[in-house]
Symmetry: C2
Subunit: 341 residues, 2 copies
């Protein structure tokens, strides 16, 4: 039984992933951003968006003509509080990285700003996209749509992506409060992990290709679909995500993405939107915003919620930074295979 | 058995409610706004925020010193995309009405704007607050916190309000797409209706004063609490609502409101935030935003979701505008009693 664990530093892991991205066609700047994004998810224990996702990245990069890893995003200063980004069929992470500073400047000046990214491919953890804004003192919300994977409430056919949204806010004396969630009842990455590990899903998570309830993750992945979380409420939120990521940005709805002529394609050329708010514009004469975020977190802990959003991620991160990011032998073998592929 | 239904026009009902508000201390402009808000909820079949709520309004107005119906909101142009409103312990509806045009002008110019209202009392249907922005071509999101009524995920004590949020977007050829939802698994008003009608709740909705699960709406209302919708996800959204409605605006968290020395008090002097986005800044060269909203609504209907968010409300509204707003004899008796009280 192989259970030997190797601990890599963040830089060691990111360098290794960067080499794989470059080997599969990414220019060095894009490779570096994607590698750091993926390594950060692994560092934070967000395994469904960590090294596990490298298989999808490589498959996606090999799906000829699907994503352009060398695309140069076009960033357009549309109005005092609105940044438009055309990712030009490239990855979302470099598109957002290119727009981040302009978005922050606009939010600082105006109090509120939007970054609207279209024609972009997203495979990362959404929490990592909003966190840097909170580190700059901003409230950030972000939304992504993707490929059809979720049936509407009471519907029979997948229309929505898993359409996550994320929220981040600065917090006094601690790292920012950050959470993200799929608006499906389970993240697609977690269904893939269950399938890989041969675990059944709980009832109420997915349907098969005929729209019948199933607990088999393979049936969900093979033409089936997930249900929205929270019944009609989650479905309404998922609809809102589609509007904010397609209608608003000028891009594709999840249901308009057709990767069928690109075998191996995993991502969707859809969109991402971010809403930024500068809390310093709102606090008036009352105590500092970040201190107030700490107050509500304290109330919630006192009321008995033991694990707050983001707590697990921060604990994993602290451990990873102290002793290294743990990787099993089979994961290292897997990275070897991607380096050789 | 009394089952005679009287049909009132919107104006007839609003006039009648306006008289009750004035009788109980509201100046005529505030009485008119609250009456139209309440009549609109009844017109739209949103009964938990319709005439049923008049009992709460009157009780609240009689709770000496709790809400100031004559307060003049202070509207502050804080930055190019940020409006601060101090409702001065008055109702939220007139505070928002006073800030609406400035918010729309800011969003039109910047692409994005925030309206941050503090020290306000809200008893209306949140959908009615966002709808007028969509009628002006804006995307609007709004959030409200209130009094502690919802336990955090896995917690034992109420910390969150039912903390609803609402979304509205213009839609081609049809009224705006509008929805609101409590982030509790059920709206507080619906628990009150169940209690009044003597109906048991479904399991998984509430806990009693000792934090034990109960299906008795009276026990939920009497020191108990509701659960968040969608388990930890709904709880995270409710936490976000607290941050956007208290930390951001400079007001009270739900858990900081203490009406105990004001018998009859129903509302909370908390806050409300609105995020406005001008979709015309985002559409680029692609088709019109409102048409794209129609597209996604079409996809969702084609996939088998028979009732979209807001459909029921629009159907009720159309019927009410055609034949009048139906009110049972007992409701009219109830209004008589409020007029005499």
């Amino acid at each position: 039984m192989k259970s030997h664990i190797t601990y890599l530093s963040f830089d060691e892991l990111a360098d290794r992933l960067c080499g794989i991205f470059q080997r599969h066609g990414c220019p060095s700047n894009v490779a570096r951003l994607l590698a750091e994004n993926c390594a950060a998810a692994e560092r934070d224990g967000a395994h469904s968006h960590g090294v596990f996702r490298m298989r999808d990245y490589v498959s996606n990069l090999k799906a000829d003509g699907w994503v352009d890893p060398a695309a140069t995003p076009v960033i357009e200063d549309a109005s005092p509080g609105f940044v438009r980004v055309d990712a030009r069929n490239g990855f979302a992470v470099p598109a957002l990285a290119g727009a981040r500073d302009l978005g922050i400047r606009k939010a600082r000046h105006n109090g509120a700003a939007v970054i609207a990214i279209r024609n972009s491919h997203h495979l990362g953890a959404l929490s990592l996209d909003v966190e840097p804004f909170a580190e700059e003192g901003m409230i950030a919300l972000s939304f992504i749509n993707s490929s059809p994977a979720v049936v509407p409430y009471g519907g029979h056919t997948a229309v929505f992506g898993t359409n996550p949204f994320a929220f981040a806010a600065p917090r006094a004396g601690e790292p920012p409060l950050v959470f993200d969630m799929a608006t499906s009842v389970m993240a697609h990455g977690d269904v893939q992990i269950a399938a890989r590990e041969g675990r059944a899903l709980e009832p109420g998570i997915g349907v098969d290709a005929e729209g019948r309830p199933t607990t088999d993750p393979a049936k969900v992945l093979d033409g089936g679909a997930l249900l929205p979380f929270g019944a009609h409420k989650g479905a309404a939120i998922s609809l809102m995500v589609e509007i904010l990521c397609a209608a608003l940005v000028g891009g594709n709805f999840s249901a308009e993405v057709d990767p069928s002529r690109h075998p191996g394609a995993v991502t969707a050329n859809t969109g991402q939107s971010l809403l930024l708010i500068d809390p310093r514009k709102g606090r008036g004469a009352l105590p500092d915003f970040a201190g107030r975020v700490s107050d509500i977190v304290g109330y919630v802990r006192d009321a008995g919620q033991q694990r707050l959003p983001g707590d697990r991620r921060l604990r994993h991160r602290a451990q990873s930074m102290k002793r290294g990011i743990p990787l099993g032998a089979e994961v290292l073998d897997f990275l070897d295979s991607l380096e050789a592929a």
